[in-house]
Chain length 158, copies 5
C-alpha cells in the first residue's frame, strides 16, 4: 500500500457529462491525502494510451477511465476496442485501470442516463481508493452481487 | 513440480455467490501444504491484471480466476475482454490461469445457478491442484469429455 | 510539451477522398511551427504499422491516421482489425494516434459523405495539435458531448 | 531443419475423443526419430499457455494443439479466445502451433464427428512433421485446396 | 529504401489457386533485382508466424501474405484471427505485411473467383514493390479509391 496514493483520471470530450470532475471530487473526499492527475482526450479509443501514460510517466498507482460509448452499432465496436486497449495497458504495467463506461443507450431518458453516470462514477472512484488503500474492504464484499450504475443483485448461498 | 505449491485465487464483488471461498476450501482440502493468496476485485474485467500480479508479485504457480458475467448482451462482450486479458496474462508469465466463469444466464433458476457455480468451482480448483502436483491425472483423462459445471459428455472411440 | 511538434499523417489509397491533404493543411494552419511527415499505404489494415514507424523511425509525437472502411460486412471486420492494431501501436510507443475513420456507408449520399470526411478530418487534426500543445483546451471541454463528423451532442448535468 | 525434431502435443480432458494419442501415433510413424512431449489441460482456453511452455521450457520446434469446442454459442467465443492465444504464442516464440480444433457441432452424428476428428488429427500431425522436416512437400501443394477433416476442394487455374 | 529489396511470400495449401506463384512472377517483373523468399503453410491461421519468420530470420523488408478463407461462418472467424495475427507480426517487426485474402464466397462462380484472386494478387504484389522502392507512387494515389480485386471506386472532392 502506497503512503501517498497517486491516482489518475482519464476522461473524454465526447461524453455528455463531466464524469471526470465527479470522480475527482469523490477521490478527494475518500482519500484527501491522494495526489490526482487528470487528462482529457477526444474519445474512448484515446483512453488506453492516456491511462498507460498516467501509469508510467505520472507514476499513478491506479487510474479511473471514464467514457461514454455512443448508441450506434459502430460505437459498441469502439467500446470493445477501447476495453481491450485498457486490458493491455493494465497487463503491461501490472496496475489496475477501473473502466467506467456508461453506454449512451443505457438510460431510459436523459435524467436516468445522468443517474447511471453519477452512480457508476462515484462507486468506481470509491473502488479505486479501496483497491489501493484497503483491499480487505473488497474482500469482505466478495461474491455479494455489488453493482455500479444500478442497484446491487441478490446474493446466493453456495 | 514445486515443493510448496503457491496458488492464487482472484474473485469479484460483482458475482452473486462467494465462489472464492469455495475455491479456497477445496484447495486447502486437496493440497493442505499449499500457500494460498486471494484478492477480490470489483468485476471480471479487473481479473486479468489481478491474476498477473498474483503470478508475478506473489510468485503464484497457478491462479484460479472466478467471476460471473451478467445476463445483458454487453456482459458477454465484457466476459470476452476479460478472457482475452487472461490469455495474455498467461502468455506473459508462462503460467496457467484457470478461468471459472459462470454466466448469470446459465442457470434455469437461482438454485440451478448456485449448483453450476458450486460444481464448476470445485472441479476447477481440483484441476488447478492436479496441474501443479499431478499432471498425469489429467493425462489419464485426455479426450474423455470432462465437464465443469454440468455432467461429463459421452466419450467417442477414434 | 515539445518545442517543435512533430506530427505524422498516415492515409490510404483506398479512401475515396484525400483526407490526408486536408489534415496536412489544417495542421499547417493550427501549428505553423510543426514538422509534418506523411505516408500513404494501400488500405486501413496497413495503417497501424505505418503509424508505429512514424512514431518510432520519424520520432513523431503524435499521428493522425485517416481511412475509409468500405460498406461490405467484411469491411467492418477490417476496420476492427485496423483499430485494434492502432491501439497496440499506441500502447507500444506511449503516444497517441488519432483515428479518423469515415465508414463509406455513413453518408446519405456522396455529398453528405464528403461533408462527414471534411468535418471529422479537420476536427481531429485540431485535436491532435491541441493534445500536443494545449491539453487544457481539451480539459475545458471534458464531458461536453464533442463530436467529430456531425454536430455535437447535448451535454447533461450530473 | 533440426536434426532431431522435438514435437509437442497439447490436448484437453474436455474433448470427447483422444485426439492426442492419435497425433502421437501419427508422428511416431511419420518421424520415428522425433522426440515427443505431451501435456493434457482441462479445456481449449488452457491450450495457448500449454503450447508456449512446450515451445519454451521443452524447446519443442513445433506443437500440435488439439481441442474440441462445444456446441453452445459461448463455446464459439471460447474457441476464438483460444485461437487468438495460440496466435500470440506463435508470434512470441517464432514457432508454429498447428491448431486442430474440431467443433462438436461439425459432425452429423457421433460417427461422423469421430471421422472428422480422425481425419483432421492425422493430416495435421503429418503437416507438423512436414513443416519441420520437408517444407518442399507443402510448397508443392500450394494453392491446391488441401482440407483437413473433409475431402479436398477443387483447385482453380489462375 | 533498401538497395536490394528482400521480399517474402507466404501462401497456403488450403487456397484453391496458386496465388503465391502469381505474386512471385509479378514481383520478379516489377523488381527484377529483388531477392524473394517463399514459404507455404497449411492454412491462413499459420500465415502470421510464417510472415514474422520471413521478416526476422530471412530479413525480408516486406511480406505478401496470400490466403483464401473458406465460405463457412467459422471461416470468417479464422480469417479474423489470422488478420489480427498479421497485425501483431507487423507491429512487432515494424515492417509491412500486405494481406491478400480472397474469401471463397466473394466470387459469383469459379471463373469470377479466379479473376478476383488474379486481380488482387497482382495489384498487391505491385503495392509491395512500390511501398519498398517508390513510396511517392502511393502518395500520388492517396484518397483516390484504389481497389484490389475489383474496379476502383469513384473519388470525391473534399
Amino acid at each position: 500500500m502506497p503512503k501517498t496514493p497517486v491516482i489518475g483520471i482519464a476522461d473524454t470530450m465526447f461524453a455528455r457529462a463531466d464524469m471526470g470532475s465527479l470522480a475527482e471530487q469523490t477521490i478527494r473526499r475518500e482519500a484527501p491525502q491522494a495526489i490526482i492527475y487528470r487528462v482529457t482526450v477526444p474519445g474512448i479509443k484515446d483512453l488506453p494510451v492516456a491511462c498507460k501514460r498516467l501509469l508510467e510517466a505520472r507514476k499513478c498507482h491506479i487510474v479511473v477511465a471514464l467514457g461514454m460509448p455512443g448508441k450506434m452499432p459502430i460505437d459498441q465496436q469502439c467500446a470493445h476496442e477501447a476495453s481491450l486497449g485498457i486490458q493491455w495497458a493494465q497487463l503491461m504495467t501490472n496496475k489496475h485501470v477501473l473502466e467506467v463506461f456508461v453506454h449512451e443507450g443505457e438510460g431510459k431518458n436523459d435524467q436516468d442516463l445522468a443517474e447511471v453516470m453519477r452512480n457508476r462514477t462515484i462507486k468506481h472512484a470509491v473502488n479505486a481508493v479501496k483497491l489501493l488503500t484497503d483491499p480487505g474492504w473488497l474482500r469482505e464484499r466478495a461474491g455479494t452481487g455489488q453493482r455500479q450504475g444500478r442497484a446491487n443483485a441478490r446474493p446466493l448461498k453456495l
